[in-house]
């Protein structure tokens, strides 16, 4: 039965890591705007990826 203790420890650690992930998400302002990201993902950036990259590099320089 002591194997249950190990399981408990594992499940508890898992749960804590989920909680930590949630807390991080909230602190990272991910709940500030729950709508815009859903539109953002639909936007097509592939067409001019090259141009994109060029500009980004320029900006960094």
């Amino acid at each position: 039965m002591t194997v249950m203790l190990i399981l408990i420890v594992i499940s508890f650690t898992l749960a804590i890591s989920f909680l930590a992930a949630f807390l991080w998400a909230v602190k990272n302002n991910q709940y500030e705007d729950t709508f815009t990201p859903s539109l953002r993902i639909l936007m097509d950036n592939d067409k001019n990826n090259e141009e994109n990259n060029d500009l980004r590099i320029n900006q960094v320089n």
Partner: protein, 770 residues
Amino acid sequence: MHELLNDNNLDNYYKLARKSGIKPKSFDKSEFAFLDDKGIQEKLLQFSINGTSKITLFIPEIYCSACIWLLENLYRLDKGVLESTVNFLKKDISITYNEEQTSLRKIVELITSIGYKPHLNISDIEGKKTIGINKSIFLKVGVAGFAFGNVMLFAFPEYLSGGLLEPEFKKYFGYLSLLLGGALMYSASDFFKTAWTSLKLGYINIDLPISLGILALLIRSAIDILSGRGPGFIDSMAGLVFLLLVGRIFRQKTFYSLSFDRDYKSYFPLSVIRKRNDVEEFVSLNEIKPDDNLIIRNNEIVPTDSILESDSAMIDYSFVSGESKPVDVAKGQKIYAGGIHQGSSIEVKAVKAFFQSYITELWNHKAFAKNDDSYSSNISNTAAMWFTIGILLLASGSFLYWLPKNLNLAFNSFTSVLIIACPCAFALVLPYTYGTVLRVFSRNSFFLKNANIVESISKIDSIIFDKTGTLTDISKSSVEYLGKTLSEDETILIKSIAKHSTHPLSRLVFLFHKDKNNVEIRNFTETPGKGIEAEFEGVSVRMGKLGFVKNPLTNCSVLEDLNFETQQTESSVFLSINNVLMGYYIVRPSYRSNIKDTISELVRKYTITILSGDNDAEKENLNQITDGKTVIKFNQLPIDKLEHIEKLQADNKKVMMIGDGLNDAGAIRQSNVGIAVTNSDSSFTPGSDAIMQADNIEKIPAFIHLTNKSVQTVYISFAISILYNFIGLYFAVQGNLTPLISAIFMPVSSFSIMAFTVLKVRYDAKKLHI
């Protein structure tokens, strides 16, 4: 359609990227010059550290996903922009930029030139308002949910094994639960805080019995677990805290693009053109001093009380005073702040500084100091007080009863009463009932500032309507032509002439004939404030005021035929063709459809008053609409409306004010429930308790009825939850409340109450067809 828009916008973007210069919106080069001012910048910027600055701009034009795409690619158009993030619901954009490579002015000019003009108004520079989500409630729910789930995991083996669980495990599970119980204290901290504050202020609210219950749960569990007597009640406690917090989230629904706290400052722009030594410059409104000469262009707001320097002007005060018709102002006459100028640019001389003008005086009224605390729910506070006193008596009663026999049992029954009586179901009633009403209303474009306003609405007994813009529809005026019949050619001519004028009445005449053809008019003169005259192929036409249209030679016989009364001249456009007075167009405000039914339904239960800033020209029409059963007052200044409400309130009336303009702002604020009516989502609404889409006015009776029903629902649910409590107390006073009973009893009672309130409100709403 969406795709098309998208493609179009992309096209725009490509051109822009190559700097080929598409400018969908033109603006004056110096319009944003004030943004170079360090003082203004400092107030607008969120932060500015080591040359990197961040600003959030409100852009009402954000309406499609292409907008987001374009605005988030700003860095390609301006190398100085480091990052731009759009929040679609709030319709704003946060821009981080490098001050060395670009400037605030350049950025604002850039986004204006691509068609997204930010709303910059005077309220932006008056202290930053942060309408963010309350993060801590999410954190607390997260922790509570985590504790709830895990405690259940530890508690189940105990319940399901029928007491056969190994003592070793019991011990570990107990300690872990206790640990989670400690974490739950963080989640529950808000309840303790509010309970303590209200106690200090000398009254009891619903959070007090909740706090007592939670404390009793924790202490009893700690003692049980540490002494090895039992598994404790941490599972019940976790469920309780979790459900209560979820209820808190449910009751608040944020409408991002709406603002309930606007005042006159959001109505004025940040800058105005000042003319000094023949040089025109944009200056911030705060810099206006008496005797400054200001240039006001078409559709701009006169920022402060001033004297007209140009020959004449048309000023629309509809938003400030409620007068629906633009007022003619002659040279040397006074123009009050807040009036919107219509027509070609005028020059005015400021009489007062911005913050001393007539319109700002209204806001100094004490009604605007009203505290938001007045929104707390009376029903729940009264109930909570009796409830708390009751359970404290009962708890100490059972303690004293058992004390002589068994100290242990006495302690058990004392804590058990506090635990079982912890008004979880009770506390969930209000959030879920009012929260559901809030959602039903918002589906009908009626947005409440917060859930407690549901209760305030149910209590009202008087309703006051503003006329212009509320009962009438400003966007629709009915035009009627009275006089000699016009030939087809004449109508075409009239339409073509009216087209050239910017005067609102000409616009209406133009729209009245909009189906007709057009002819090119070359010979055209407009005398501002008087009328227009034009000639076309030998026919001369004059339209406008009676005095302008008629001259000694004019044949005016038509007026006698029409039994013309002089008081009708205000909103009429007279017409003469070749020196013969043909007749006139009369413009009448158009009342919203069904307004008669709405008022006759309301008048049965409520005292209705109509306050109008207009003159009494509409008296007849209004009397007809209201069947003469309401009080109608005309020529009401903003302060008159406010005082009227104060007078009603002095008679212990609960007043609901429904209005639309700045002129109603004082009354809306003073009333028990102030509702601002708006024609579009983005348009300005004065500070209010609720915002309503104008075409939903006819649903007001249903809305009020639903709030009454919901209060009824609250009472029924209270009764049910008290019944639950009696069942629980039956176990508790005997001192044999076991963790298992508690763990079953608490969720069952809470969930059944939640389900009952939500379903009942939805059922009522369905019956009322809203």
